[in-house]
Amino acid sequence: MTVLLAIQHVTYAYPAVKTPNAALRDVSLQIQEGEYVVVLGHNGSGKSTLARLCNALLLPDEGNVLIGGMDTHDVAKRRSIRDMVGIIFQNPDNQIIATLVEDDIAWSLAIQGFAPELIAERVEDALIAVGIAALRQLPPHKLSGGQRQRVAIAGILALRPRCIIADEATSMLDPLARQEITGLLHHLNKEQGLTILQVTHLLEEAALADRVVVMEQGQIVVDEPPAKFFANVRRLHSLRLALPEPIEFAERLRNLGYSIAENALTIEAIVQELY
């Protein structure tokens, strides 16, 4: 496997903030191509800062961020870096600009001067990949929150990235739409081999990831597979992270002597173990 994202001893402080603490302090992290990594942490822990350093929206004060081997400090590489790593945010409305769904997806290709035939092909592929081909002629404000977030994802897919960063992309959605978007990210990871970095404060979204990274006060305090992460109840408690109720239920049944594997982290898996 090849390393797609390499964060090397990065320290970053927001210039306008008077507090003495940096948002990130000497953080190092490597993400392999094709991995699905979930970054957890409380508000203010530095997880969004980490995400923004990964596509050169922010540049480190100290240390380096390498994307596919390209240093984000290198101004000449910035365009290629952002084509390689796309980012979606909490509120899709801040990212949608056109008056029709398909125009919005085409926009970033159009400003890069792609030929119309190529744009049409890429838009088509992106619409199908996120499952909104039937909505292409609608104005975005007629869509639900989950559908609008799909439009934002399609806009990035059209650029053929190798990595998608989802920065709290589900936290304003209702529970069904949230499952829908997380399901879509997993689908893109499995089917297209896209690397996914999902930043969230919802622990249940970590259950199906390859790796869980937890940020606390600007540093990485956990980096391991979800089964191991959720099994360490005492540490979760000290990090003030509440177990999702189904996982807490499984954990307590285990203490009663029921045999439930530690990697059973979804409702379906827990039911299978008890059956």
């Binding site: 409380h42 069904l176 499952q179 307590r252 008890l274």
Partner: protein, 283 residues
């Protein structure tokens, strides 16, 4: 119901004259004083339209709405007094702060109510105390220097300072992390206990509804289609999904266990209840 605080009778509301489809159709409900009622339903089901009748922002097209026995749909009622009695906190309330300091922001409501200086101060101090942001520490700070969760609590304090009898909370925990959410729930429980405030919760988050509400009202296409205690309502997973509503993950888990022949009782709601049942089964 004895002495309910809110009653609607055959409430129908249509946004525009001539539009065939009503936003609310024939809604009859009673909300008990001091209770916490959750209104659930998809976008467009009529939740927000309904709660806007409770503080007189909307007037029924047909039917009546009573708050504290007063018909609030009639022209000429004292809307100012009604809005002091029924506080409304919108989604993303932290974006609606405008005071230069936390004190100024929370004091806005009591000042509008023409209270004396000492009374305003006493109310601000007490409201900030309830939301866990003590006046001495936070009173003189600028709201914009605080975190999102803290700002949202300040917005809540601003409504509390008017001592409302009913508090309408529209999706207030969206975007808060686990810490912020737990704190908010604790304050809401305190308010109910200390001030006997009636809470009307509009929420998509069924885990939240299960944790706070003692009654759930389900709206679908402008009509009440189901109501009852959370444990009764959430046991109807299949029906809720037909209305495009999620059930709490735990209820979903119990439903799937039942489908696989493990007879977890229908109305199990919490981890504690389920663990107790499995412990007995083990013996």
């Amino acid at each position: 119901m004895i002495n309910p605080i809110i009653v609607t009778k055959n409430l129908t509301y249509t946004y525009k004259v001539g539009v065939a489809k009503a936003a609310l159709t024939d809604v009859n409900l009673e909300i008990a004083r001091g209770s916490c009622v959750a209104l659930v339903g998809t976008n467009g089901s009529g939740k927000t339209t309904l709660v806007q009748h409770f503080n007189g922002l909307l007037r029924p097209t047909h039917g009546t709405v009573y708050v504290n026995g007063v018909n609030v749909g009639t022209k000429g009622i004292d809307l100012r007094a009604l809005r002091h009695k029924v506080g409304l906190l919108f989604q993303m309330a932290e974006t609606q702060l405008f005071g230069r300091t936390v004190f100024e922001d929370v004091a806005f409501g009591p000042r509008q109510m023409r209270m004396g200086k000492a009374e305003v101060r006493a109310r601000v101090v007490s409201a900030l105390d309830i939301v866990g942001l003590p006046f001495l520490q936070y009173g003189s700070r600028a709201p914009f220097d605080l975190s999102g969760g803290e700002r949202r609590r300040i917005a809540l304090a601003g409504v509390l300072a008017m001592s409302p009898e009913v508090l309408i909370l529209d999706e207030i925990s969206v975007g808060l992390d686990g810490d912020g959410r737990a704190a908010l729930y604790a304050y809401l429980r305190t308010i109910r206990k200390k001030r006997n405030v009636t809470i009307v919760l509009v929420s998509h988050d069924m885990t939240e509804v299960a944790a706070l509400a003692d009654r759930v009202i389900v709206l679908h296409q402008g009509r009440i289609v189901m109501q009852g205690e959370p444990r009764t309502v959430f046991a109807q997973g299949e029906q809720l999904r037909a209305w495009e509503l999620a059930v709490p993950p735990l209820s979903e888990l119990f439903t799937q266990l039942r489908a696989n022949g493990i007879a977890v009782p229908q109305e199990t709601l919490t981890v504690d209840e389920a663990v107790k049942w499995f412990a007995q089964r083990k013996r």
